[in-house]
C-alpha cells in the first residue's frame, strides 16, 4: 500500500468535504482564469474592432481618394485671372472686374505651355442699363475658348457667340417672352436670339452673352477684357501656389483668384470624413482601454477576494479533516508511520484537490471568461475558443491551484503531523 492509495480512498470516503474544497479551488482558479480570459478576449475583441474599423476607414479613404481623383479629372477647379489693380472686394461685390487688361493676355497664356490649364475663356463683363427694355442686365462679351496649343485638343466647355447673336438668361427671356430667332435691340444694336438658357438660379438668369468684339465696341473697351476664366486646372491643391506663381510669371500684371469648385468642396468634405473616421478609431481605442481598465480593476479585486476566501475555506476544511481523522492519525503513528508521512498524507490530498479544482476551475473560468469577453464565435477562419485557449494559462492554473491548496492546508497538515499518538490513544 502507498500513501496515494490511502489518499484516494479517503477522498472517496469523504466526498462532500473534498467536493467542497474542490469547489473552493475551482472558484478561485475559475475567477483567476475567467478574469485573464476575459481580458484576453477583450484585447482580441479590441484588436478585431479596431482592425475592422481601420480596414473600413482605409477602404473608405481609398474610395474617397479615387472619387476625388475622378472628380478632379472631371471638374478640375476654376481660376479667374483678373487685372492686377482690381480691388477684390469690388470684384466679389459686383462679380465683375472694374479694371481691364489686354485681350492678348489670353493668347500669351495659351501659348505659354502651362499644361495644367485646360480651358481659357476671356471675357468682358459689365452691368449695363438696357434702355430699350428699361432694365439692368449683366452683359458678357465672350469669344469662346482660346485654344491651348500645347495641350491635347479638348472639347470646348464654352462655345463662342457669333457676331449679331445674343444668348440670354432665363429671367430675361421669360420676362420679355423671347424665343430663338427673335430680334431685339441692345444699346442701339440689333441682335438675333441665338440661345435661351434654362433657369440656373444665379446671376446668369439676368445675363446676356454676345460676341466679345461686339461687347468691346458697345462698352467702348476695344481690345480689352476684364477677366480670363481658367477652367479645369488639372492639379492638386497642393500645386495651386505653383500654378499661381507660373501665371504671375507669364502675366505679371494680373492676379489669380480661385473660384470655389464642387471638386474642392467634395474633397474638403471627404477629408473631414476621413479625419472623423480616424477620430472615431481613436475614440474607440480610448473607450476600449477605459473598459479594459475597469474590467482589470474589478477582476483584480474579485481574484484576490476569491483566492483569499477559498484559501480560508480550504484551511477550515483541512482543519476539520485533521480533527475528524485524529484517531486515524494516532493509530497510523502507532503502526510506525513517521510524522512526515502524516504531513505527506494531508498535503497529497491538498495537491489532488488543487489539481482537480484547478482543472475544473480552468474549464469553468475559461468558458465564462470567453462568454463575457467576446461574442464572436470565430476570429478570422479560426474558432474564437482556439485563439483564446492559452496552454500557458492552463499550466498556470494547474500550478497555482495545488500551490493554493498546499499553502491553505499547510498549517492543518503540520498540526496533524505533530500530533502525539500517545495523547490520542490515551484519550481515545
Amino acid at each position: 500500500m502507498r500513501i496515494r492509495h490511502l489518499v484516494a480512498k479517503e477522498i472517496r470516503h469523504r466526498k462532500l468535504s473534498f467536493g467542497l474544497g474542490l469547489l473552493a479551488v475551482a472558484l478561485a482558479v475559475g475567477t483567476l482564469v475567467g478574469a485573464l480570459t476575459l481580458l484576453r478576449g477583450h484585447d482580441l475583441r479590441t484588436q478585431q474592432i479596431l482592425a475592422r474599423k481601420e480596414a473600413e476607414t482605409k477602404e473608405t479613404m481609398a474610395t474617397l481618394n479615387d472619387d476625388v481623383r475622378k472628380a478632379m479629372l472631371r471638374l478640375g477647379f476654376n481660376l479667374v485671372i483678373l487685372p492686377k489693380g482690381q480691388n477684390l472686394g469690388d470684384w466679389y461685390a459686383d462679380d465683375y472686374a472694374s479694371k481691364y487688361m489686354p485681350e492678348e493676355y489670353v493668347t500669351k497664356l495659351a501659348h505659354s505651355g502651362i499644361m495644367t490649364v485646360r480651358h481659357l475663356l476671356p471675357s468682358l463683363q459689365q452691368k449695363v442699363k438696357w434702355p430699350e427694355k428699361k432694365r439692368t442686365i449683366i452683359l458678357v462679351g465672350t469669344r469662346g475658348e482660346v485654344p491651348d496649343l500645347h495641350a491635347n485638343p479638348k472639347k470646348p466647355m464654352a462655345q463662342p457667340v457669333p457676331r449679331g447673336k445674343i444668348v440670354v438668361g432665363y429671367e430675361i427671356h421669360q420676362s420679355l417672352g423671347l424665343s430663338i430667332g427673335d430680334k431685339l435691340t441692345l444699346l442701339g444694336r440689333r441682335f438675333a436670339v441665338h440661345k435661351l438658357y434654362q433657369e440656373r438660379g444665379s446671376k446668369d438668369d439676368i445675363t446676356a452673352w454676345i460676341n466679345l468684339e461686339q461687347a468691346q465696341e458697345l462698352l467702348g473697351k476695344k481690345g480689352l477684357i476684364n477677366a480670363i476664366l481658367a477652367l479645369e486646372c488639372v492639379c492638386s491643391w497642393s500645386g495651386l501656389p505653383k500654378l499661381k506663381a507660373d501665371i504671375a510669371r507669364i502675366l505679371p500684371d494680373t492676379q489669380v483668384v480661385e473660384r470655389v469648385s464642387k471638386a474642392r468642396i467634395r474633397f474638403q468634405t471627404r477629408l473631414k470624413v476621413g479625419q472623423r473616421a480616424k477620430e472615431t478609431i481613436q475614440a474607440e481605442k480610448r473607450s476600449r482601454a477605459k473598459l479594459r481598465s475597469e474590467r482589470e480593476r474589478l477582476a483584480s479585486v474579485l481574484v484576490v477576494v476569491a483566492i483569499v476566501g477559498s484559501a480560508g475555506w480550504i484551511a477550515l476544511l483541512s482543519l476539520a479533516n485533521v480533527r475528524e481523522r485524529r484517531a486515524e492519525i494516532g493509530v497510523l503513528r502507532a503502526l510506525g508511520l513517521r510524522s512526515r508521512q502524516i504531513l505527506l498524507l494531508f498535503l497529497s490530498k491538498a495537491v489532488a484537490m488543487g489539481l482537480a479544482g484547478g482543472a475544473l476551475g480552468f474549464l469553468a473560468g475559461f468558458l465564462v471568461g470567453r462568454h463575457l469577453g467576446m461574442t464572436a464565435q470565430h476570429i478570422g477562419a479560426q474558432p474564437a475558443v482556439q485563439i483564446l485557449f492559452d496552454p500557458k494559462l492552463a499550466l498556470l492554473a494547474l500550478v497555482v491551484a495545488p500551490l493554493l491548496t498546499v499553502v491553505a492546508s499547510w498549517i492543518p497538515a503540520i498540526i496533524a503531523a505533530r500530533q502525539d499518538p500517545a495523547d490520542i490513544l490515551r484519550e481515545e
Partner: protein, 220 residues
C-alpha cells in the same frame, strides 16, 4: 524481548502531578504471554504506550529486543515500532474508509515490503475474514473488527505484541478467540503484553500481573 526497569511517568493535572507509572519493572521474554490486570485508571494504558515507544517515560528504561526506543530520534523510533511492535486496541482503531484487506495491509505504509499484499491476504485468511475482505469496518461485526485489528498488528511480523483491553468490547466467544490468538502468537516465539481488566486472560497468559495506582503489586 521487553524489559522495563523502574519506570515512572508523571502527568501534569489540574490537581497537581499525577504519577501514572510509579517504579514499574517487568520483563516479557520471547514466547511469553504476560497479562497486566488492574482497574481503570491504574496506569495500564500508560504502561503499554511507554513500552511501545509511544510515550517517553519520566524516568526508567525501556528495552525492546535489546534496544531502547527512546534513545532513537523520532523518525527512527517510528520505524523501530513498525519493525518490532504490533499494537491492538480496545476500540480497534481501524481506518474507517479502508477495506479489511487494506486495513490489514496498512502497516506496510510504514514498512513497505513487496509481498505485503500477499502477507495481508494470508492473515485475512488466517483470521477467517475472507468473506469480508472487501468490507469496510462499518460493515463488520465487533469480533470481525477485532480480528482485523489483530491481523493488522501481525502484518510486519512483530516480535512484541502489545494489546490494550483487547477483549473489552467482545462477547465471551470472541474474547476467548482473541486471547487464544495471543497465546498462539507467544507459542510461535513472540512476546505478548496485554493490559486488561478481564480476568479470563489469566487462563491464556503465562503470567498475570496485578497493577494498582501505577505500581505492579502482585503476580499470579
Amino acid at each position: 524481548m521487553l524489559e522495563v526497569k523502574n519506570l515512572t511517568r508523571c502527568f501534569e493535572g489540574p490537581a497537581g502531578v499525577i504519577r501514572a507509572l510509579d517504579g514499574v519493572s517487568l520483563d516479557v521474554a520471547e514466547g511469553e504471554f504476560v497479562a497486566v490486570h488492574g482497574p481503570s485508571g491504574c496506569g495500564k494504558t500508560t504502561l503499554l504506550l511507554v513500552a511501545g515507544g509511544l510515550l517517553q517515560p519520566s524516568s526508567g528504561q525501556v528495552t525492546v529486543d535489546g534496544e531502547d526506543p527512546y534513545r532513537l530520534p523520532p523518525e527512527k523510533r517510528s520505524r523501530f515500532r513498525a519493525d518490532k511492535i504490533g499494537f491492538v486496541f480496545q476500540q480497534f482503531h481501524l481506518v474507517p474508509y479502508l477495506t479489511v484487506l487494506d486495513n490489514v495491509a496498512a502497516p506496510s505504509l510504514a514498512k513497505p515490503e513487496p509481498n505485503a499484499d500477499a502477507r495481508a491476504r494470508e492473515l485475512v485468511s488466517r483470521f477467517n475474514l475472507e468473506d469480508r475482505i472487501r468490507h469496510v469496518p462499518a460493515k463488520l461485526s465487533t469480533g470481525e473488527r477485532q480480528r482485523t485489528a489483530l491481523a493488522r498488528a501481525l502484518l510486519n511480523r512483530p516480535k512484541l505484541l502489545l494489546a490494550d483491553e483487547p477483549t473489552g468490547n467482545l462477547d465471551v466467544e470472541n474474547a476467548q478467540n482473541v486471547l487464544q490468538y495471543f497465546a498462539d502468537f507467544a507459542k510461535e516465539g513472540g512476546a505478548v503484553l496485554v493490559v486488561t481488566h478481564d480476568t479470563r486472560a489469566a487462563t491464556y497468559a503465562h503470567r498475570m500481573l496485578e497493577m494498582q495506582k501505577g505500581m505492579l503489586v502482585a503476580e499470579t
